[in-house]
Symmetry: C2
Subunit: 289 residues, 2 copies
Amino acid sequence: VVLFRKMVVAGVGLLGGSLAWGARERGLVEEVVGYGRSAESLRIAKRKGLIDAGFMRPGDFPPDTDFLVLATPVLGMAPLARQFAPRIGPRCIVSDVGSVKGAVVRAVEKALPPGVAFVGAHPIAGSEKSGPGAAAPDLFRERRCILTPTAKTERGALRRVACFWSALGAKVEVMDPDLHDEVLAVVSHLPHVAAYALVRMLERARADALDPADYCGGGFKDTTRIAASRAEIWRDICLANRRALVRALDDYIRYLARVRRWIREGRGAALEREFSRAAERRRELEGAR
Amino acid sequence: VVLFRKMVVAGVGLLGGSLAWGARERGLVEEVVGYGRSAESLRIAKRKGLIDAGFMRPGDFPPDTDFLVLATPVLGMAPLARQFAPRIGPRCIVSDVGSVKGAVVRAVEKALPPGVAFVGAHPIAGSEKSGPGAAAPDLFRERRCILTPTAKTERGALRRVACFWSALGAKVEVMDPDLHDEVLAVVSHLPHVAAYALVRMLERARADALDPADYCGGGFKDTTRIAASRAEIWRDICLANRRALVRALDDYIRYLARVRRWIREGRGAALEREFSRAAERRRELEGAR
């Protein structure tokens, strides 16, 4: 069933590209137009059949768009919405795919013309890959998609966006934007910072003729896989969610300092107890969906 | 070619079991005897064909053993060597598979009867799985195996142990025990502590009716996969390598505190620069072996 006539996807990277492709393939939209800063990305997106057409100047935003999805790095979303604003029609629904919601949702709401409905969305379906070349039409299948309506969010728009994500195969749920950010700080943003930092430690451990990277086993590779993620995206996420992320980092640093003390003091029982609890919890995750 | 007549593998877990199996399958040893504290593990090891026979009392160590491999958690190795010592013959070669070398090698050397040759070894081939049920005869194929001889190490024994690991398919190299520990602290021990700690953060972020674990995507799962590792093994590794690990933890904590400050102060350029460097380095690792 056709949910929208003309969808604009701003940013045709991994998420935007997959969204465009999935929507086209399932016939959820009649036409998909991509916006991007790079001609190369738009070209790849068009050649792969993710989009029908593309534009690079915000002033070329098609005024008959009835669904706009922001899929750029999060700090770029509100400025871009502001640039599109003069050409966004009153019946257009706006959504996004950002990994941070609180500050981003507030900023985008402010940037849009009064009366235009905005529904914040975060499909939990990233990967360390990026760009339209990595897009897949089934990226969101069986993945959670968290919608974060505010007091301002129009209920009809919320339902339509929920319907759109369900049709892409996602498991849709609704959450408060700030609670979303607290949870994601712990399950996603902190692990990214931790992984980037672990990779940087390789530099520090470089000895004369020996490169520690040569001794990385599967454990190191798994633990740092997400450190291959695009820096620009994660810079924005860290800054946009700084309040919750700084708190999560504080907890993490404090906890690591405690473990360090136990190691230094030879407190084997404490170490074993903590590692056991973590191991048990981690094994549970494996069984879960 | 038969390298040893009777090999005793002390600890028939993932590493010991795989070692036994690989050696038997390739005909490198005539007989494999397993030592273990648990009758259940020995039973599984025997049923899977990893070992020919097993024993549970150190006093039953077969005196005609010509190759003993210690494959218990690292802090258990020297005490066990001491218990076996009265029955270890002068021509027996002793080795191990421990993830820590400096302190462990020194302690085992001291525990063995004078004249018995010891060759420290660390095959970099672990996983979060454990027990003889997870053993595989090809676990060491194409993996590095680091031998860490000391001034005391008999050259003939070093050659035979190197030959044994090569025959199992490992890429053998020689390294100073303390240098080994510094490198492994960064590429393996620190990541394990970091992963255990990330999983423990889930507990702290638990809100009312919401379990953060439900929102863990592939990124969290990869980053913490090794946190499912057996606590006892990692307790021992942390304690045995405490000097290098505490130093690595200090570096890591200091670096995280710096990233935290950049986030709090909104220093996007610094974040992007650091994340970029890490991402580039991490992508290089993917190409490497």
